[in-house]
Amino acid sequence: MTKYIDQGKNDTRSGYGAGMTELGRTNPNVVTLCADLVGSLKIQTFIDENPDRFFQVGIAEANMMGIAAGLTIGGKIPFTGTFANFSTGRVYDQIRQSIAYSGKNVKICASHAGVTLGEDGATHQILEDIGLMKMLPGMVVINPCGYNQTKAATIAIAEYEGPVYLRFGRPKVANFTPVDQKFEIGKALMLREGTDVTIVATGHLVWESLLAAEALEGQGISAEVINIHTIKPLDSEAVINSVKKTGCIVSAEEHNYLGGLGESISRVLATQLPTPQEFIATKDTFGESGTPAQLMEKYGLNNKAIVKAVLKVLKRK
């Protein structure tokens, strides 16, 4: 089994930017739109190299979603870029009617998701976006864990025909997946095998889960860690196979426990293999200002919180 080590901290949004740079060079149908956040989305290289395939829409996200839907008519593959809050909640009906219901091949790429956006506070820290997007019929929902995986996911979704929500973040975090790891939409990744407990994690919580598994090993607990980068369609088989072995599960995500990955896991288990589960997620609350590390600590989203949840769920086996 590969041992995952941090190759150096980097931000997932830069992974998106790097993925866009590559797509700009390899796929002439890829176009990108941005609502006045080019620097935040790290797409300047794409713009410099493909100025005619970039559309700056200004601070007008609803219009951006509609234009993206229209660009697919004529064969373009539009990638929209803004913060996760403005990519989803602000434009839900535009996505619902013009993109999802209309089956348009738009890639909604959303940076600054979750509390790790940090100091800007709750107005910008959306913790509901996974739920909003996964409820839309036909929408694929992806939340990669680090720079390399975000870059790979960005490239992979261009090859997929249909609407996709790609969620990533602001802070520099561990970059630990191999640079050449293939990204398969809907295919969970086994990061660490174990026998006592399953930890399924998405986004920034994947690295925290690996840290938690190491700490648990010191206490004689064998934790299996699975990276669910694609929340929808969910790799149910990977989850079921793991809990058959371990008998309990912790889900971990930087999102509200209502509507997130954890609930998707619960649905699968409730119908196929009822299993004790604990949730690492925000508990129906808004975020607040602070550093990413402070917020992860306060809202129970770090490796320490995962260890505690594991100890709790083990008692329920």
Binding site: V57, G58, N63, G66, G75, Q97, Y101
Partner: protein
């Protein structure tokens, strides 16, 4: 060009289709549909350059986007009679398992439709996107779109109007159906729009008006003029003055028929004012 009388025959038959469709399911929106019938017939039977058959990308042809999707009856009738799908299918309007949803959709694969509409205010953005794709594809065909005047109360329109002018989307002709009415009454009573022409001009559009928006000749000449103004650095706006419920005397001069179907007696009366021309479906 088909003779005007032939287009007029299609107009009358389309009115019958609209009335019979909404009557059958006792729902739907006849008022705006009747008000825009001449416009749709002129567009699809004379003005637009269209390929045979239908594909979603629509490369090498003009495209049309309906933003105010509730006037689906006129859209469906005109698409069917232009050959996009069998005319008999109009009898499935709003019924379960139909491709003719209450509001237009791509979901059931109805040929001719390229975007869902109904939730208002989204169509101009989509039309702009399609216009940008045409420019990227070096396709010189134009994009037509239609919007209700009341629909302009949705803020997304003004994002789109600003964008199209600011980015010289000059292969776009957006027509506003100026009938002055919305569900709750006269626009001036619900939320006055002020001077729509001045607003579009202030945003940087080239605006022209068709004062007789239910007159085929006026529509044809006005829309040809609009097309001649494309490619000159500005998006083109057509203010189409129409009469809601046009062609059925008791449906005119009122907003009452915006979203109400006629009963049996009213249908008979309405159809008697529009004698069958091409044959009912």
């Amino acid at each position: 060009m088909p003779e005007l009388s032939k287009l007029q025959d299609i107009v009358v038959q389309t009115r019958r289709d609209i009335l019979r469709m909404v009557h059958k399911v006792n729902s739907g929106h006849p008022g705006g549909s009747l008000g825009c019938t001449e416009f749709f017939v002129a567009l699809y039977h004379e003005l637009m350059e269209l390929k045979d058959g239908f594909d979603m990308d629509g490369n090498g042809e003009d495209l049309f986007f309906l933003s105010n999707g509730h006037i689906s009856p006129v859209y469906y009738s005109v698409l069917a009679r232009r050959g996009y799908f069998p005319v008999e299918e109009l009898s499935t309007f709003r019924l379960i398992n139909s491709r003719l949803q209450g509001h237009p959709a791509t979901h059931e694969g109805l040929p001719g439709i390229r975007i869902a509409s109904g939730s208002l205010g989204q169509g101009m953005s989509v039309a702009i996107g399609a216009a940008l794709a045409k420019k990227l594809n070096k396709d010189n065909h134009v994009i037509y779109s239609l919007h209700g005047d009341g629909e302009l109360q949705e803020g997304q329109n003004w994002e789109a109007i600003m964008y199209a002018a600011g980015n010289k989307v000059d292969n776009l002709i957006s027509t506003i159906d100026l009938n002055g009415k919305q569900i709750d009454g006269a626009i001036d009573d619900v939320l006055p729009m002020g001077d729509i022409k001045a607003k579009f001009e202030a945003f940087g559009w080239d605006v022209l008006e068709i004062k007789e928006g239910n007159d085929l000749e006026a529509i044809l000449s006005g829309m040809k003029e609009a097309k001649s103004r494309t490619g000159k650095g500005k998006p083109v706006c057509v203010l189409l003055h129409t009469m809601m419920g046009n062609g059925v005397d008791f449906m005119m001069h009122t907003h009452a028929w915006h979203g109400k179907a006629p009963n049996d007696e009213q249908l008979e009366n309405a159809l008697s004012q529009n004698a069958e021309t091409l044959g009912d479906y």
